[in-house]
């Protein structure tokens, strides 16, 4: 994996807005903070990460955020 290694990471950040059809989700967000993207299960993220060529090594969560340590 060191062939072509570019130490400086690529960083992507995407912010979403709940749309007008997702009021329930928005209300849930205020109550539980576990809504929106956080309802996505890990296999779905792993499927996405396959495109990136990364695998999930470990993860932890708190009330606000899910974090994943990835390969590469």
């Amino acid at each position: 994996s060191l062939i072509g290694f570019e130490g400086p990471e690529k960083l992507l950040e995407v912010w979403f807005r709940p749309n007008s059809d997702a009021k329930e989700c928005r209300e849930l967000h205020h109550r539980h903070r576990s809504c929106g993207l956080r309802i996505v299960d890990q296999p779905t993220w792993e499927d996405m990460l396959n495109i990136v060529k990364c695998q999930v090594l470990s993860r932890k969560s708190n009330d606000y955020v899910d974090e994943f340590v990835l390969s590469e």
């Binding site: 690529k10 912010w15 979403f16 749309n19 932890k60 994943f68």
Partner: protein, 351 residues
Amino acid sequence: SSMFVYSHKIILKTCGTTTLLLALPRILEIAHTNCGLELVDSVFYSRKAFMFPAKQKWPHGNWGDEVLYLDTIFQPEHFHTSGYVVGKINGEHWNLYTAAPRRDSDVVGWDEEDPYSEADEEMEELYKDDLTLEVLMSELNPEKMKAFWKKDGETEEEGAKRIYNDSGLGSIFPHTTVDDHCFDPCGYSLNGLIDQYYWTVHVTPEDHCSYASFETNIPISVAASPLAYQSYEEVVRKVIGVFEPGKVTVTLFSRKPENKDRETSDTESRSESSTSVNGSNHATTLFQLPVVGPGAVASWGRKSVDNIVSSEHANMVLTGSAVDGYLMRDRVVYDLGGWDLVFAQFTRKRR
């Protein structure tokens, strides 16, 4: 590499020959179909200068391709997009792309009903302290890097624990929840959480790709408890002390409040490049930027996060003492539409 998933945003940070941007359509699809999140509020993509562009897979071989690729997803009729090169084009520059939805009612084809208007107040709350500090380091001290190799007979878990405790990383934000990994035979990644804030560290200790990155969105007011941090400069100094790099790039991003230049792509910048390097006293003004125009100034200190986020960038002064042993090579202040950016570079003084 790391990923952070919030209810309303995803942060994905990868290195090596990863093909991060190719996953963007899938991310948007997941957000839409799985979560009902069809409206993108903002997009931010950054990367440091290319090192081995010929060995990367499209579109990661050059900045122009990356911007073109992103512009095909965030099309100009719906988004304000920008692709910047921050810093010296032939130096340790940074590449930055931003996209934010157009909300002009006069845009051809734009629906008269603004779908973004309903969630403005909520987004303001989410944005209110959005600030990211990043420290990129290369030419790391080889003696320091010995800690980042997995030892014989050591499990990856044991190695991670040893590295965290022995390298000095454990003293940066000791009150956070940490998830880390020691790679075989070397290398280390860490994600730390405290409430809605994170910090992340990635290290490749080999001489031929000696590199470490540190990034956090922890406000100094949070970081300071129970520590005695008075400013981000102290955090930067502590991080640099762990790795003793030969070269350092520091960036501080802050998002502007809604309706403050979010809808313009005009860029203003003020550069104070290496002219001061030869000065004898520059070490006391490493982060000090000139005041432009009248108005209040904000210090880069304990109580300054709100000020930084809410102040006009041009009126912002970052004060603080030196990073001992380093020379500033470049410093730039950018007003990037919806974001403010401070960019500074340092090199270690010769002994």
